[in-house]
């Protein structure tokens, strides 16, 4: 199976999918369920869950309680899988999958490291030239971010179907709230990244990342991190992304402390899938935001250049992946920080913010960016 053959491409794609889902997304999302409780506790001068441990003989593996997520998984597995009598059985079963799957699918376009140089894995890439590159990205699609919007907008079906199939008026109302909110903020979300497309001239996240090789260069903004050319776009996208994940301050579809919302009838592993899906969305939206605004796996030209010229290719890719993971974890923690700092918007305030504030601002951002890009090209 030589480089370039169809078999090689298939094997590489499967290996990347398995690695991304089982080696990165699922563990990180699971750990985030614990991290959220621990971090929020520390923010509120509490201690948080720190007791779960794995006793192996005399050893007692505690790891500050990080094994809580395993305990949660075991608990979800052994809970009764209750289906309400008048629920639509088929849709009730499929709704959690519909809520979780889009997050996994869109992770395909997230670039998580520099290309592997197949055949030169143990050599230091000369002058950064990579022969036989294997991109560290599951799917390199030209439509790129459009694919992201197309698939992530499917997540609204999970919430709406769960609300409808439960045959419960409260969960139905929750599903309606979820669908209205998610549709409203998708508009802003799409508008917010248009500015980035104009700056970088491409829709493909891998190409966008490879352009952001410099941390900050005032004279060369289209090659520095996206946050510097699109600060407003980043804030708008972040706001819309939090609204899309249905977390505080935009958690009226769920209203966890009091009204629950569309998954009120769910229990056991199906509830666990909604729960995990929410955290998967956090990880994936963090990955997308890092790709668009924070240089993807880049850490500035000096760091990248130093590592690339001193490490063999395979170690270079591993190091950059690790550094990218650090970025993603920090970004997830930032999203948790927001969730535990802000109060909830009222429903009408949410719609007002989405349609009357964010949408005009994002359109203005696109127009101004377009003018600036034109001006830059003219000079």
């Amino acid at each position: 199976m030589s480089y370039g053959s169809v078999g090689f491409a298939v094997v590489a794609a499967i290996a990347k999918i398995v690695f991304m889902i089982l080696g990165f997304l699922m563990p990180l999302a699971s750990i985030l369920t614990w991290m959220e409780r621990r971090q929020s506790a520390m923010m509120q001068d509490r201690l948080g869950p720190n007791r779960a441990n794995i006793p192996i003989g005399p050893l007692n593996i505690k790891l500050a309680g990080i094994t809580h997520f395993m305990a949660d998984a075991v608990k979800f597995l052994f809970k009764e899988d209750y289906v309400p009598g008048k629920a639509h059985k088929f849709l009730f079963m499929w709704a959690p999958i519909m809520a979780m799957a889009p997050a996994l699918i869109v992770s395909a376009i997230i670039p998580f490291g520099p290309s592997l140089c197949w055949g030169h894995l143990t050599e230091i890439a000369a002058n950064g030239v990579c022969e036989q590159p294997v991109p560290m990205q599951i799917a390199r699609l030209d439509v790129g971010m459009l694919f992201y919007f197309a698939i992530s907008s499917l997540a609204v079906y999970g919430a709406t179907l769960a609300g409808w199939a439960s045959h419960n008026k409260w969960s139905m109302m929750g599903g309606l709230r979820a669908s209205s909110q998610m549709m409203s903020y998708e508009v802003t979300m799409g508008m917010a990244v248009l500015g980035s497309f104009l700056v970088f001239g491409t829709l493909e996240p891998g190409a966008i990342v490879s352009k952001q090789e410099v941390f900050f260069d005032w004279s060369n903004l289209s090659h520095s991190w996206g946050i510097f050319s699109q600060p407003l776009g980043f804030i708008l996208f972040l706001t819309a992304a939090i609204a899309e994940t249905k977390r505080t301050p935009f958690d009226i579809p769920e209203g966890e402390p009091e009204i629950i919302g569309y998954f009120v009838e769910y229990s056991g592993l199906r509830f666990g899938m909604f729960f995990l899906g929410e955290f998967l969305e956090i990880v994936v939206s963090s990955g997308i935001m890092i790709s668009l605004f924070f240089g993807g796996w880049h850490w500035g030209s000096s760091v990248d250049g130093f590592l690339a010229s001193h490490l063999p290719n395979i170690f270079f890719v591993t190091a950059m992946f690790t550094l990218w993971t650090v970025k993603v974890v920090l970004f997830c923690m930032f999203q948790l920080l927001i969730r535990w700092s802000l109060p909830r918007f009222r429903s009408d305030q949410l719609m007002q913010l989405g349609w009357q504030r964010l949408l005009p601002i994002s359109i203005a951002n696109v127009v101004i960016t377009a003018l600036l890009v034109l001006w830059g090209q003219a000079n």
Partner: protein, 250 residues
């Protein structure tokens, strides 16, 4: 806008402002807010700063505590704001006057102080004390309990038994609570169990007569303090401020 604010200040409603049938009267509150507050972003950044400072302080203190080996969580208590008490390992001590698990006090020779006078089962509102008296071998005392059992599940922890006891035999000052048991019968404490927590009491036993106040007054050196019993002292405290201490000397 001025029309609504005028109304919201509680001016008497005129015929034009009273809502017609089917209309809902809405109170419009104008919110004061500078431009930067209406932008949300600076205010949100400020709020995130507050929560982030709390997080970093507690996180750093916790990590330092872990690195230091976590000895009694000293660093966690001094370097962080965390108020959590980790229950089974750490316990919040009960206040000094806490009424808890019973105990039976002992004489100087280790015998039980109880004289089976039946005061405590009589006063007990929950009927949780069972005493079967027997003749005491010691000639100075008439009776002693053959069986002394307290059902801690029935006990309402009112403390009347300790108050009724004339000879400082039963106390509730163990600063402990009834232990959980797997069987109900294990919650019934017998005499040996109750005595195992007991300590020697040398309070004068058997009463000192109806005129004890006068006797104390005559012999006390500082009469003003004579009747002051310390507020936190358990029943039958032996100490310099004990009004009976003067009698005990004689």
């Amino acid at each position: 806008m001025s029309h609504e604010t005028h109304e919201s200040h509680g001016a008497p409603p005129t015929s034009s402002t009273t809502p017609r049938k089917g209309e809902v009267k809405v109170k419009v509150v104008t919110r004061a807010g500078s431009f930067s507050q209406q932008l949300y972003v600076p205010a949100i950044a400020e709020g995130l700063g507050v929560t982030f400072r709390h997080f970093m302080k507690n996180f750093a203190g916790n990590v330092a505590n872990f690195v230091a080996g976590g000895k009694e969580n000293k660093l966690r208590k001094s370097a962080t704001d965390i108020q959590t008490i980790e229950y089974p390992e750490e316990k919040k001590p009960y206040p000094e006057r806490h009424r808890g698990l019973h105990r039976l006090m002992l004489r100087e020779d280790g015998q039980v102080r109880c004289v089976a006078c039946m005061m405590c089962p009589t006063v007990c509102p929950a009927h949780c004390i069972t005493i079967v008296p027997e003749e005491a071998p010691d000639g100075r005392i008439e009776k002693r309990p053959k069986i002394f059992e307290i059902d801690e599940l029935r006990c309402v922890v009112c403390g009347l038994c300790a108050e009724a006891c004339p000879c400082d035999a039963i106390r509730m000052d163990t600063l402990d609570h009834a232990k959980p048991t797997y069987r109900r019968v294990d919650a019934i404490l017998d005499k040996e169990e109750l005595m195992s927590r007991g300590t020697t009491s040398i309070a004068t036993q058997g009463g000192v007569g109806a005129m004890w106040r006068e006797k104390v007054k005559g012999e006390q050196q500082t009469p003003s303090d004579a009747n002051v019993v310390p507020a936190g002292a358990p029943h039958g405290t032996v100490g310099p401020q004990d009004p009976l201490s003067a009698l005990r000397k004689s």
